[in-house]
């Protein structure tokens, strides 16, 4: 068995690989300033990977797919387009924070983000930050965080993108966005949608996914205005999802789910002397309705408003010490059929420090303290450092205490909600090494996470399930990445990347591996660019994962391969068309037990850049 997976490992390693050089013809936007500067200035000792625009474009339909094939995050997906939850370094879905322009947008009710409901399009940058980010990003940034950032610039831009897509299973998609600057104004407006019948056949099972239809519509507006000593920005997005939920291999799908999210962030930045002041106000709204039977109007649901007001000051002393102090007040008001009507207030004070000791060594120390909560107010801290040993080799280290507060469902669900719950806490350390040698890039990270008081729903007397702070876990593992690019001659470029992760996540009481945490995950992409033509081959090996807490049952390992190609018209560089073939070998696979994923399928697209 051991040999078997090694074999597969090498096969994948040799045959495939990731990341990709941007096609030269696509217009390069001027460098934008991100709305969330913490990610750049106060994460030096962390691994922060930016997903290339070309990768986002080629996976424009699904954020889950982008991350599944290009990061070590493992996803459980109840069939394509269905509920998709991440496991970052073996932690659970509520311990992976999704950060939109610096704001944690995980659901008030579930503590998670369903990655199928987030459109990957029209962000300036999608980044993955590995490791604990509790100090900077609050509750839930335990295993790591996924960052969806918008930015702005006042350099001259006037671009419009239009894309249309068509794929198997009656899948239609379209996106349009425009970015304009004039004088002291920056404006970016975008809309995109995808709709799919999603009626793929289950390979070799003589069954179809008859109840997995979905529709997603997203609109985004990002605006910035330059003022005398600063900038005012507004980021806004609206998303609507309407899905029928797929059945499983032995159940007929009947239920459906609708959700609406709106997010608005207003920020005012002012430079006063050497101090950068930033005032921000945000409003998040989420609303969901669950229909046990999609044919009937009965549904249960909830909605939540989150208001955040913050003030931060950042100072750069002597060109090498950067200090950022922030106070942030959050008010959450939520009501739902099963959770009643409740509020939560939190006041957080955050202090971040980064000191660049020399050109080679930089370190950071960060603190967060919360007040007003109904539970023990956590005091969080983190420290990180990066040491460039040579120009080819760098070391990074970080350690942090992180937490996750109970969700509104955990606290107030009827029946079972437990108002006595305390936050989960977790400590972690990471050591990473980065190598750069000519065209070879490599990164190897090892981490250890110890979590206490994890909230788990357990059956109580009388058959009522209740969440309790009872579980303690230990996660450790390694993540290795390798990238290599080779220019054969001016016209031919070969780019290869591969990713391997080993994850051990065990319950300390039973000493068993946590469910739905595979030990092994390997990804790779091989890209080949020739003039206006580009071609890629992408593969994923997902090791088997246990589905029962006593490790008596598994969901099988799988390998899936995709093939893609695109071509930019020689006559008009603003028109690109292409397509891809997914699940090339038409294998049967499940990421959640009894929930088959799609058979072989294709997708074609046509993009215009005006």
């Amino acid at each position: 068995m051991e040999k078997n997976w090694l074999h597969i490992f090498f096969m994948v390693f040799l045959c495939t690989a990731s990341a990709f050089a941007q096609l030269d013809s696509i217009q390069q936007l001027p460098e934008v300033v991100l709305t969330d500067s913490k990610l750049i200035h106060f994460s030096k000792g962390y691994k922060v990977e930016k997903i290339a625009d070309s990768i986002i474009e080629r996976n424009a339909l699904s954020l889950t797919e982008i991350l599944r094939y290009n990061s070590s995050i493992y996803f459980k997906e109840n069939g394509f387009g269905m509920v998709s939850s991440p496991s970052f370094r073996g932690t659970n879905a509520a311990q992976t924070a999704v950060i939109w322009n610096g704001i944690n947008i995980n659901s008030v009710f579930t503590g998670q983000t369903d990655f199928s409901t987030v459109s990957p399009l029209n962000y300036s940058e999608i980044s993955i930050r590995s490791g604990g980010g509790g100090v900077q990003y609050g509750s839930g940034a335990v295993g790591g965080s996924v960052h969806l950032n918008n930015g702005f610039t006042f350099q001259k831009i006037d671009t419009t993108h239009i894309g249309i897509r068509y794929g198997s299973f009656s899948t239609f998609g379209g996106n349009m966005s425009t970015t304009q600057t004039w004088g002291d104004h920056y404006l970016n407006v975008g809309v995109d949608f995808i709709s799919s019948e999603n009626d793929y056949s289950y390979v070799n099972k003589n069954k179809k996914n008859n109840h997995g239809q979905f529709l997603r519509f997203t609109a985004k507006v990002n605006e910035a205005r330059r003022m005398k000593h600063g900038v005012a920005t507004w980021n806004s997005e609206y998303s609507y999802n309407d899905r029928n939920f797929s059945g499983s291999l032995n159940t007929i799908g009947k239920d459906a789910y609708q959700d609406i999210n709106t997010r608005n962030l207003w920020q005012l930045q002012q430079k006063i002397g050497r101090m950068d002041l930033k005032g921000s106000f945000a409003h998040l709204f989420e609303k969901y309705t669950y229909f046990p039977n999609s044919q009937k109007p009965h549904g249960t649901g909830g909605n939540a408003h989150t208001f955040m007001g913050g003030m931060q000051a950042e100072v750069l002393f002597a060109e090498n010490i950067r200090i950022n102090g922030k106070a942030e007040y959050t008010f959450v008001e939520a009501e739902g059929d099963n959770v009643g009507s409740n509020t939560r207030k939190t006041l957080a004070a955050v202090l971040l420090l980064n000191h660049k000791l020399s050109g080679k060594f930089t370190y950071g120390i960060n603190f967060r303290k919360e007040f007003l909560n109904d539970f023990d107010n956590p005091f969080l801290f983190s420290a990180d450092a990066k040491y460039k040993v040579t120009t080819n080799y760098a070391l990074r280290m970080n350690g942090s205490k992180n937490y996750r507060v109970p969700t509104f469902n955990d606290l107030f669900w009827n029946a079972g909600g437990n108002k006595e719950l305390q936050p989960e806490t977790s400590y972690q350390v990471e050591v990473g090494q980065e190598f750069m040698f000519r065209k070879v890039r490599a990164d190897v990270a090892a981490y250890y996470i110890s979590s206490e008081n994890l909230i788990k729903w357990v059956p109580g007397n009388g058959g009522v399930w209740q969440p309790e702070n009872i579980s303690n876990t230990r996660n450790y593992g390694i993540e290795a990445q390798l990238g290599y690019s080779l220019r054969l001659n001016p016209a031919h470029l070969l780019d290869f990347s591969a990713n391997y992760s080993y994850t051990k996540a065990e319950d300390l009481e039973t000493e068993k591996q946590l469910i739905y945490v595979p030990f092994h995950k390997i990804m790779g992409t091989l890209d080949y660019n020739f003039n206006r033509f580009s071609f890629y081959f992408q593969g994923l090996f997902n090791g088997e994962a246990f589905t029962t807490t006593d490790n008596s049952d598994i969901v099988a390992s799988y390998s899936v391969f995709n093939l893609g190609a695109q071509y930019t018209l020689p006559a008009n560089a603003n028109v690109t068309f292409g397509g891809r073939l997914k699940n090339v070998f038409n294998v049967y696979y499940e990421s959640v037990s009894y929930r088959p994923m799609p058979s072989r399928n294709f997708e074609i697209f046509l993009n215009f850049n005006i």
Partner: protein, 352 residues
């Protein structure tokens, strides 16, 4: 012990193979005793949503334990949430609630005979009458309290011959005096009725305590165990045992628990009743019901079944791993055996 079990299981599987592959060899089928002729069946609900339930068989002499017998014999899964099982003289009717079907197998060989896949909507329990008729409780849409029904099955051709609309949340049912008594536990909510069915119609409705979750017949008396309204409803009520006269279908007597006591899993042996309450199994004599009776065994069991001096108790553990069946001697309250089962063991049945 583990290796021993393994060897036995392998030997048993081999035997099964032999039994299966000799279908047309009539001589041999007569000689080889049917694989599941005498013993205990445990229906395992299986993981909710993402998997299949299954059935564990433990032979009467405890010498063989076979997991997943339906799949091992027939090469196919039972389906999602194996809720319960009922019998006729020859057949087992396995109710698979979330797959909305009933799988029919020979109760001794477990070879699949047929399945009923239409006309059932969240089926819960099955009972047969006179060998050719069956009744199945159905929730319909769990949040619609007006579409609950009993499906009447014609067991000669395994089709639904009639449906009887009933009050909401029909759950367990049994046959007595040619009538069907249906306990309306209340689905995901709460109810307090027993429907009395005669033929294809509701003859009468008996109001009992809140949440009638289990019942047994002793002589001409029906004992109904009611869990009471749980705390989270905001109107918590006490559990109770209600005695119903099967001759008049009238409530004879009601015995009430403490307000916060919510018992479940009523079963009987001899003249004693047994049930589950707050992590203990209690015993109470029908001769003089004095609640809560005597606590005899510690354990939080998902279901109980008493028979011939033994108490069979299913432990579903954390509902996300393999459970077990424990067997106790009622005379001494001592545990005799423990067998591994599938995930969420929810029903205990006997073949003899």
């Amino acid at each position: 012990m583990k290796t021993m079990k393994k060897i036995i299981f392998m030997a048993f599987t081999a035997l099964l193979f032999a039994a299966c592959s000799s279908d047309d060899d009539t001589v041999e089928t007569e000689i080889v005793p049917e694989a599941f002729a005498e013993g205990i069946f445990v229906t395992n609900e299986g993981p909710f949503n993402n998997g299949s339930g299954n059935i564990t068989f433990i032979s009467e002499d405890y010498s063989t334990v076979a997991q997943n017998i339906f799949r091992n014999v027939n090469g196919k899964e039972l389906g999602n949430i194996v809720q319960s099982m009922g019998f006729t003289e020859d057949n087992a009717y396995i109710v698979v609630s979330n797959s909305h079907k009933i799988e029919i197998a020979n109760r001794y060989s477990f070879e699949s005979i047929d399945s009923i896949t239409t006309g059932l909507d969240n089926p819960r329990y099955f009972v047969s009458v006179a060998g050719n008729k069956g009744y199945v409780t159905n929730w319909g849409d769990p949040i619609d309290n007006t579409d609950d029904y009993l499906a009447v099955l014609d067991l000669r051709n395994n089709t639904i011959s009639a449906t009887i609309p009933v009050d909401f949340g029909p759950e367990r049912l049994l046959e007595a005096n040619n009538k069907i008594y249906v306990a309306h536990q209340g689905g995901y909510g709460q109810n307090n009725k027993i429907s009395v069915i005669s033929g294809n119609s509701v003859e009468s409705i008996i109001t009992v305590g809140d949440v009638p979750n289990s019942m047994v017949v002793m002589g001409n008396t029906l004992y109904v165990l009611c869990g009471g309204m749980p705390d989270y409803t905001g109107t918590e009520t006490a559990g109770s045992i209600v005695k119903v006269d099967l001759g008049t279908n009238q409530v004879m007597e009601t015995f009430t628990f403490g307000t916060t006591e919510h018992p479940s899993s009523l079963t009987m042996d001899g003249s004693n009743l047994f049930y589950n309450l707050d992590g203990k199994v209690y015993k109470v004599s029908t001769a003089s019901i004095n609640l809560p009776g005597t606590a005899i065994i510690d354990g939080n069991f998902y279901t109980l079944q008493a028979k011939n001096g033994l108490l069979y108790a299913a432990d579903a553990k954390n509902y996300a791993s393999q459970g077990s069946l424990l067997i106790y001697d009622i005379a001494t309250n001592q545990q005799l055996e423990e067998f591994q089962t599938g995930i969420v063991p929810g029903g205990i049945y006997f073949n003899e």
